[in-house]
Amino acid sequence: MKAFLRDRKVRDIFWQVLATIALVAVVVFFVKNASDNMVKAGIASGFNFLWRDSGIEVPFNLTGYKPSDTIWALLWTGIVNTILVSVASVFLATVVGFTVGLMRLSRNWLLSTLAAVYIEFVRNIPLLFFVLFWYFGVLAALPTPKESFDFLGVIFLNRRGLSIPTPNDLGGFRLALLAILVLIVAQIVLARWARARQARTGQDFPVWIAGFALCGALPLALLVAAGAVTSWDQPILRGFNYRGGFVLVPEFVALFMALSTYTAGFIAEVVRGGIQSVRQGQIDAARALGLTPGRVVRLVVIPQAMPVITPPITSQYLNLIKNSSFGAAIAYPEIVAVFMGSALVATGQAIEIIAITLGIYLAIGLAVSVFMNWYNARHKLVTR
């Protein structure tokens, strides 16, 4: 009997059964209370409410949503707004983050100190502070539409938001996009050919310069040309406000600025760490082989730094997406504000709405981490 009680397998099973019983008991206790409380409050559970009319006004939407649409459509509007602000912020945060991270590594004392000041400033203050600061501190202090800041007479910034022109028809841009796709394919083919030729004959081809022309300069010229031939819906001051074009509401601008500048500080640290992880010996060796400084960076530093940089940067992107929920604090209509806020108040379906909202964020997180695992497996540094 004593030997039986001391057997490791028996004890393992005993502890696991005990833990399971405790967990199940806690869950049953909570669920029972919840259902009792809901019966008392007269709340019917279920997901039928999603097809009811919402009756909720959303001031900023790209989906053509109207208050007479269903709650389902309201949720979709929130998702689109979350994606919009996340994508825009990821883009700016990456650009600023890489710039600041590289500045931090500069030999130039002023550049690196400025970058350090930026990083320490941004990382040690709560994000909500920046969101409120941009919204109530900066944007509220902007001039009225009559005295807007104007950028080249086409974009106008005032306290009602940022007015930008929109193209009337997309024909020109579609053509340009098609041409750009062709150029990208051409670049891929060219790169393959150049690599094959180098492997065969050792002869070198300036792929990067060609790539810069094919995938950078030419597409830009095409887009400018397409813009020149298209007619634009211009924002024009009529009465007290700008009409025409598209207005990015101040809530969007504030959240976008706060998210991107905040996350940029974290990305900068990731970039710095990644580049510093490339050992000096590698760079010295590359120089000793006679590679030019540009090639040292391109062929030795970047390929070794990127695998170090990518995983933490992805988790920063994921944080940014989760942090876009801070929009709820300034009533930017993203998922949490329209769904967990307005729709929940209107319907009272707390459990269902919370479950859906959390489910969306968990699904986004899962999708990103699956993609990341795939990417890491593909780009793993091959070592011998």
């Binding site: 130039n108 600061f133 707390a350 919370i354 968990l362």
Partner: protein
């Protein structure tokens, strides 16, 4: 023929090497200097030179600069929120107690330091709640009257007190031999790490009253503390797991060979070493907890940032947005920067101790 440039005096050479090494460097440096010049001058002007310091009302702010009179007039609010004035000594007393305990425990020569620390962690929190909330001879102060910096610190410390032990347990669970316990820990950790904190605070304030038996009321502030604590516990667990993984297997194996059981190995061998390694990572999680406490604004609990935000609505002080934000922001910055510097010094001490 080119002649070598005459050697420059020391500081000029350094300046040249650091700022003007190439023409590109020179351009960048001059650009930086210009930006710093354009930004810092008006900033210093607004913050200090042109600012108004003396007075009692908005009319005393006659200059173009910041109106620090506003901060002076509302300073007590920023610290205590709506906490009743005659009872504020309780907050001060608790602050002094915590400060004293912290100072005593940071002195390395303290006899029985570990035991004292554990005793303080067990005894002080209930005393704190008693002092702040009242009862047993003290006047009751409802939590909705709490606010300001005091509330921020309360949220961070109490959520941290729950999050640290819970996080350690979760980290141990994630590395457990038992598949069911491992599975439950992984689900808990990944769930809370995967959702935004703002939704968790919503969730806690909406669901906690729902899942409790009827008539059992969870205080509004307690809900926020629990919500924050769960999320941070999940992040803490990952920080602790880093320390557990860094520990060589030989440590556990040697302890097993000596005949110690799981809990004794964990308590005497594994945790003391693993926690020391995880300390910097755990401090970073605490910093992010401290920053996250601001989110309670969303359920109308007025912490430091919330009080600053509410102060903007005061008709007697219209247009003090910048002053309120700069003041609150500075407090957050100094707190977080101080903590992160401390964490860095701990990391260095650790590395030195390991002879690396």
């Amino acid at each position: 023929m080119k002649t070598a440039a005459p050697p420059l005096p020391g500081w000029l050479a350094i300046l040249r090497q650091r700022l003007f090494a190439t023409w590109l460097d020179t351009v960048a440096s001059l650009l930086c200097l210009y930006v710093v010049w354009r930004v810092s001058l008006p900033l210093v002007d607004w913050l200090l030179v042109e600012a108004s310091w003396q007075g009692a009302s908005r009319d005393d702010c006659t200059s173009r600069g910041a109106c620090w009179v506003f901060i002076r007039a509302r300073f007590a609010q920023f610290m205590y929120g709506q906490y009743p004035v005659p009872e504020r000594w309780r907050v001060d007393l608790l602050g002094l107690l915590v400060l004293f305990a912290g100072l005593a425990l940071s002195w390395r020569g303290l006899p029985r330091r570990k035991e004292t620390a554990i005793a303080a962690a067990i005894v002080l929190p209930p005393i704190g709640i008693w002092l702040l909330h009242g009862g047993f001879g003290l006047k009751i102060v409802e939590t909705r009257e709490w606010g300001g910096l005091m509330l921020t610190l309360f949220l961070a410390i109490y959520a941290g007190l729950i999050a640290v032990p819970l996080g350690i347990l979760l980290a141990l669970g994630r590395r457990s031999r038992l598949p069911l316990i491992r599975f439950a820990s992984v689900v808990f950790i990944e769930f809370w790490r995967g959702v935004p904190i703002i939704t968790v605070i919503f969730l806690a304030s909406l669901l906690l009253p729902l899942i409790m038996p009827t008539g059992f009321n969870v205080d509004r502030l307690a809900r926020a503390v629990i919500g924050l604590a769960f999320v941070i516990a999940a992040y803490m667990a990952e920080a602790v797991r880093g320390g557990l993984q860094a520990l060589p297997d030989g440590q556990t194996e040697a302890a097993q060979a000596l005949g110690l059981g799981y809990w004794r190995i964990t308590r005497l061998i594994v945790l003391p070493q693993a926690l020391r390694i995880s300390l910097p990572a755990m401090t970073n999680e605490f910093i992010s907890l401290f920053k996250s406490t601001t989110l309670v604004l969303i359920v109308s609990i007025f912490d430091l940032l919330g009080i600053a935000q509410a102060a903007l609505a005061d008709p007697a002080w219209v247009g003090m947005n910048m002053e309120a934000y700069v003041f609150a922001g500075a407090i957050y910055w100094f707190a977080c920067f101080g903590l992160s510097q401390w964490s860095r010094s701990q990391e260095k001490r650790l590395q030195a101790a390991h002879g690396r």
